[in-house]
Subunit: 106 residues, 2 copies
Amino acid sequence: MTTTIKRRDTGVNLFHALSDVTRLEIMERLKDGELCVCDLTEALKTGQSRLSFHLKVLKDAGLITDRPEGRWTYYALNHEALKELEAVVQALQGSRRGVGSSSRCR
Amino acid sequence: MTTTIKRRDTGVNLFHALSDVTRLEIMERLKDGELCVCDLTEALKTGQSRLSFHLKVLKDAGLITDRPEGRWTYYALNHEALKELEAVVQALQGSRRGVGSSSRCR
DNA sequence: ATGAGCAATCAACATTCGTTGATCAGTAGA
DNA sequence: TCTACTGATCAACGAATGTTGATTGCTCAT
């Protein structure tokens, strides 16, 4: 089914974006509200370039949004994407019906 | 906090294991019950070696379990891990309190 | 206009990840 | 025992990812 494939694709994208310690930590920091890159640089004690890279990955996956203001850029969680992620995970848990229904390989 | 760090690590592991189309498809196939590798090889129309590789990744992440029987090995979802995954995702959605509480970068 | 600060982008490099084909170990059946 | 089959593992290769330092573009303050 097309929707299944589409969900699989968005699932892969979301999971990949979250499959990195730095990016997960960014997400955690953003739980309390939006932060600019300089906040995050200080909080994570890491280089600006590296941070920018990971922010881009998260943004491309739709997990965060950016809001440029003056010379700063504020990043925030995108709760829509997180709801979508939750849906993907729940779809994975699935029906849980009938256990042990293998075809037994011939 | 230690539990936070631990959750972040298991989160990274789980997310990484699911960040691949083939592995997600394996998970979906296993929703209906356990399958042996030959079932999956046929279902996904792919090589045995490749499949074995991805099954190992999923197993190492704790997302699936294996049950050798005779010359076949049956794989099944580990619902414990899926519950853990759900918890990680929900922790990510977090408090959702106070928006716009940035430190404003000076 | 000039200088300073924030953040994105780039190139270069190292590391990790996924694929493929071959080999190996264990099991079932003749 | 000999053979056929399932599935794990390995080596080799190519592709994708992450890191670092430098550069560039903007914006604000002087």
